[in-house]
C-alpha cells in the first residue's frame, strides 16, 4: 500500500513492507549528488586553476595585474567589439534566412521539411577548415577574374577589416544547424497551420500573422538560436584566423604568447561576458507570455557540437550556451496581470 500511495505517512504496521519507494527515492538523490559533484569538479577545476594562475605570480604573491591591464591591452576593445558586431549580424542573417523558410515548410508540403533540414544540417559534416579553404580560394580567385566588373569592389568590400562581411557569411553557414534545430523544436510545439488559419480568420494578413502570432510563440526558440550563434561567433577561431582577421578569439591566441596570464584572464572574462549575455538573452526569451510548453531551445540539443566547432575558448563559451538555455515551461503563477489599455 505504501508503495501505491506515495504519501508522507509511514506504514501503520511495523511488519509492513519497508517503503521500497522511499529507498528508491533516496538512491537517485544520492547518485544525483555524486554525479553533480563529479561534473562540478570537472568543470570548476580548470576554471579555478586558471584563475589561480592569473592572480598568483611566484615571488610576487597575489596580484590582479593580469586583469587590470586587459582594458589597456592593445587590440582588446577592437577585437571584442568586432566579435560582438559579427555575432549580431550573423544572428540577424541566420534568423532572417531560417525563420521564413521553416514557417514556409510548416505551411507547405511536408516533403520540403526534409530538404530544408538536410540543407541546414550540412555544415555539421563540413569541417570549418574545409569551409575556409574554399572561401579563401574564392576570395583569391574572384578579384582576378572579376577585376573589370563591379563584383571586384564587392570582393574587396566583403573583406573589409573593420567589418569583414565574409565572416558573417561563413558564420551564418556554421550557425545554420543550431538555428535550424532550435527553431524547428519551437515550431514543432506550435500548431502553426491552425494558428495561421485562426489569425487569418480574424482578418490578419500574412505578415501580421508571422510578426504577431508566430514569432511571439517562438521567443524561447529565437533566444536559444541567438545565443547559440553568439557563443559560436565569440569562440570561432579557425575561419577568422585563416582568413587573416582578428576578432576576439584570434586576439586571445595572439596575445597568449607575450602575456600568458593576461591571455588566460581574458579567456575567463570572456566566459563571464558570454554567460552574462546568455543570461540576458535567455531572460528576454522566457518572458511570461512565452507560454508554449516544450518550445524551449533546449530541444535544439546541439550545444556540444557548437562547442566542437569553435576553438580558443569557444568550448567554454558554447558549453555555457547550452547550460544557460533552459526550457521555458509556462508557469501559471507567473502569468502577467494584463494592463488595461496596454497594446
Amino acid at each position: 500500500m505504501a508503495a501505491l500511495t506515495p504519501l508522507s505517512t509511514p506504514p501503520a504496521s511495523p511488519d509492513a513492507v519497508p517503503a521500497p519507494a522511499g529507498a528508491a527515492r533516496r538512491r537517485p538523490r544520492y547518485w544525483r549528488g555524486a554525479v553533480l559533484t563529479v561534473a562540478g569538479l570537472y568543470f570548476l577545476t580548470p576554471l579555478v586553476s586558471s584563475f589561480v594562475f592569473t592572480v598568483h605570480v611566484p615571488g610576487q604573491g597575489l596580484t590582479f595585474a593580469a586583469y587590470s591591464g586587459i582594458l589597456s591591452a592593445e587590440g582588446f576593445t577592437e577585437s571584442l567589439f568586432l566579435s560582438l558586431s559579427l555575432a549580431a549580424a550573423t544572428i540577424a542573417l541566420a534568423l532572417l534566412l531560417v525563420v521564413p523558410a521553416l514557417i514556409a515548410v510548416r505551411l507547405g508540403p511536408p516533403r520540403l521539411r526534409a530538404v530544408v533540414e538536410i540543407v541546414c544540417m550540412l555544415p555539421l559534416v563540413v569541417p570549418p577548415i574545409a569551409l575556409v579553404t574554399g572561401i579563401a580560394t574564392v576570395l583569391r580567385w574572384g578579384p582576378d577574374h572579376f577585376s573589370r566588373t563591379p563584383l571586384y569592389q564587392t570582393f574587396l568590400a566583403v573583406q573589409n577589416e573593420s567589418f569583414p562581411v565574409v565572416l558573417v557569411l561563413a558564420y551564418t553557414v556554421l550557425a545554420l544547424p543550431f538555428v535550424h534545430r532550435s527553431l524547428d523544436a519551437g515550431l514543432r510545439a506550435v500548431d502553426v497551420p491552425t494558428l495561421v488559419e485562426a489569425a487569418r480568420n480574424c482578418g490578419a494578413g500574412r505578415l501580421y500573422v508571422i510578426l504577431r502570432v508566430i514569432l511571439p510563440n517562438l521567443r524561447s526558440s529565437l533566444a536559444g538560436a541567438s545565443f547559440l550563434t553568439l557563443a559560436l561567433v565569440l569562440g570561432e577561431y579557425t575561419v577568422a584566423s585563416l582568413l587573416g582577421f582578428r576578432p576576439f578569439a584570434v586576439w586571445i591566441v595572439s596575445v597568449s604568447g607575450a602575456e600568458a596570464r593576461m591571455s588566460v584572464a581574458v579567456s575567463l572574462l570572456s566566459l563571464l561576458i558570454t554567460w552574462a549575455l546568455l543570461l540576458v538573452l535567455s531572460r528576454a526569451g522566457t518572458g511570461p507570455s512565452t507560454a508554449v510548453p516544450g518550445a524551449g531551445p533546449s530541444a535544439a540539443g546541439p550545444t556540444g557540437s557548437a562547442a566542437s566547432l569553435g576553438s580558443a575558448g569557444s568550448a567554454g563559451s558554447a558549453g555555457s550556451a547550452g547550460s544557460a538555455v533552459s526550457p521555458s515551461a509556462p508557469d501559471p503563477a507567473a502569468a502577467p496581470i494584463p494592463v488595461p489599455g496596454k497594446e
Binding site: 500548431d191 485562426a198 487569418r200 488595461p340
Partner: protein
C-alpha cells in the same frame, strides 16, 4: 457600442431542439450557397459537385463519415481552400476568390487554436486589434463576449491555464468578436469529454439562437447534428446525400446511406412481389412510393424500433443478446436464415427475452426503405410502409 449582432426579434428565446423551422428565422443572418463545388486532392475527390444552401439564421450541420468532404466544404467557405470549380455565395455575393482574412466568417476550430501567448481577453479582441479598433472598444467587446460565453472572470487567463471547454468558449467568443455574417464550427466539441460536450453544445445552440447568426457546423457525431441543427446535410464521398430537418432525415431517409448512417438500421433481405409490395422476414409490406421495377431480391431497411419481438416457444427466431439502455432494451435476434435483426423494445416488454430464448419477430408499422441488394448503392429508393399483421419469423 454593442459588440454583438442585434438579436433577432423572430428568434425563439429558449435554447432547445431544432423544432423551429428555418423560415421562422428568415431575415436574420446571411444566406450561404455552395454551387457545384468540386475539390480534389490528387486522386482523392473531397467535394464532387456539392450543391447546398444554408438559409439565413439557421444552424446547418454537415454530417458524414471521415473523408466525406464536410470539413473541406467548411474550409472552402472560410477561404482556407480554393475549389477546383464551383462557387461560394454569401447573400448572393460570390466570395470564392476573396482571401480568408477578408471574408466575414468567424470560425471555431476543433483544436481550440487560441493564441498561446495571449490571454483570453486578448484572444477575443485579436480580430478587433487587427482592424485597429480603439483599445477601449476592444476591451469592452472582449468583456461582453467573455460574459456571454460564461467566462467573465477568465479574461486574464492564458490558454494553458484553462480547460478544454473553457478554451473552446473563448474560441467561440473570438469568432463572434467581429460580428461575422456566418459562424463556422469545425467539430468544436470532438476534443472535449462527454459532459462538457453536452453542456457546450447546448450553449452554442443558445448563442446561435439568440444572435440569429447563420451557422454551419461540421460534425461526424450524428447525435450532435440531430440535437442542434435546424437542418442536417449528410455528405458521402463529396456529394450531398440529403439535406433535411433532423426528424425528416431520421423518419424518411432519401438513400440507403442516409438511412444506415443516421441512427441504427436493420438491413434484411427481401423480395419484390411485383404488386407494389415487398416480402421481408415472412411479412408482406407495401412499398410507399415508386416501387423498384420488376421482381427480385432487394434489401429492406427497418429501424429497430419498427421491429416487434416477443418470447414464444413456437417462434423461429433466437435471442442472441439483450442490452439494457434504460427505458429501452435492444434485443439482437437471429432469424432462421442467419440474418441478425435488432429490435428496440420497451424494457418492461423485453424482460423475458433472454439470450437463447425462442421468439417471434414481426416488422411493425414503421417507415422502411427498399434498396437494391448492393450495399453501397446511393440510388434513392422508394419508401415502404409496413402493413399491419405480424408474421411468424
Amino acid at each position: 457600442m454593442s459588440a454583438l449582432p442585434a438579436p433577432s426579434a423572430t428568434r425563439p428565446g429558449p435554447a432547445g431542439p431544432a423544432s423551429a423551422g428555418s423560415a421562422a428565422r428568415a431575415g436574420s443572418g446571411a444566406r450561404v450557397e455552395f454551387r457545384s463545388l468540386r475539390r480534389a486532392f490528387g486522386p482523392t475527390v473531397a467535394l464532387d459537385g456539392l450543391d447546398l444552401t444554408a438559409e439565413p439564421g439557421e444552424l446547418l450541420a454537415l454530417l458524414g463519415p471521415s473523408g466525406c468532404g464536410k470539413t473541406t466544404a467548411l474550409r472552402v467557405l472560410a477561404g482556407f481552400e480554393q475549389p477546383d470549380s464551383g462557387e461560394v455565395l454569401v447573400d448572393g455575393e460570390d466570395i470564392t476568390r476573396i482571401p480568408a482574412n477578408r471574408r466575414d466568417a468567424g470560425m471555431v476550430f476543433q483544436s481550440y487554436s487560441l493564441f498561446p501567448h495571449l490571454n483570453a481577453r486578448d484572444n477575443v479582441a485579436f480580430g478587433l486589434r487587427v482592424r485597429k479598433r480603439p483599445a477601449a472598444e476592444r476591451h469592452a467587446t472582449a468583456a461582453e463576449l467573455l460574459d456571454l460565453v460564461g467566462l467573465p472572470d477568465h479574461g486574464a487567463r492564458f490558454p494553458h491555464q484553462m480547460s478544454g471547454g473553457q478554451q473552446q468558449r473563448v474560441a467561440l467568443a473570438r469568432a463572434l468578436a467581429l460580428r461575422p455574417r456566418v459562424l463556422l464550427l469545425d467539430e468544436p466539441l470532438s476534443a472535449l469529454d462527454a459532459k462538457v460536450r453536452l453542456s457546450l453544445r447546448e450553449e452554442i445552440r443558445r448563442l446561435q439562437l439568440s444572435l440569429g447568426i447563420t451557422t454551419i457546423f461540421v460534425t461526424h457525431d450524428q447525435e450532435e447534428a440531430l440535437s442542434m441543427a435546424d437542418r442536417v446535410a449528410v455528405l458521402n464521398a463529396g456529394r450531398l446525400e440529403q439535406c433535411a430537418p433532423p426528424a425528416e432525415l431520421y423518419e424518411r431517409p432519401a438513400t440507403a446511406f442516409v438511412a444506415e448512417f443516421v441512427g441504427t438500421m436493420n438491413r434484411l433481405p427481401g423480395r419484390l412481389t411485383g404488386t407494389g409490395s415487398v416480402e421481408v422476414a415472412g411479412a408482406v409490406l407495401p412499398v410507399d412510393g415508386e416501387a423498384p421495377a420488376g421482381r427480385g431480391s432487394v434489401d429492406v431497411l427497418l429501424r429497430p424500433e419498427g421491429v416487434r419481438a416477443e418470447a414464444d416457444p413456437e417462434g423461429t427466431a433466437t435471442v442472441v443478446s439483450a442490452s439494457f439502455l434504460g427505458s429501452v432494451t435492444r434485443v439482437l435476434l437471429d432469424l432462421p436464415d442467419g440474418t441478425a435483426v435488432k429490435a428496440d423494445l420497451a424494457s418492461r416488454d423485453a424482460a423475458a427475452l433472454l439470450p437463447g430464448v425462442r421468439a417471434r419477430v414481426a416488422p411493425g408499422p414503421r417507415p422502411v426503405l427498399v434498396v437494391p441488394t448492393t450495399p453501397a448503392s446511393p440510388v434513392p429508393a422508394p419508401r415502404a410502409q409496413a402493413r399491419a399483421g405480424a408474421v411468424d419469423a
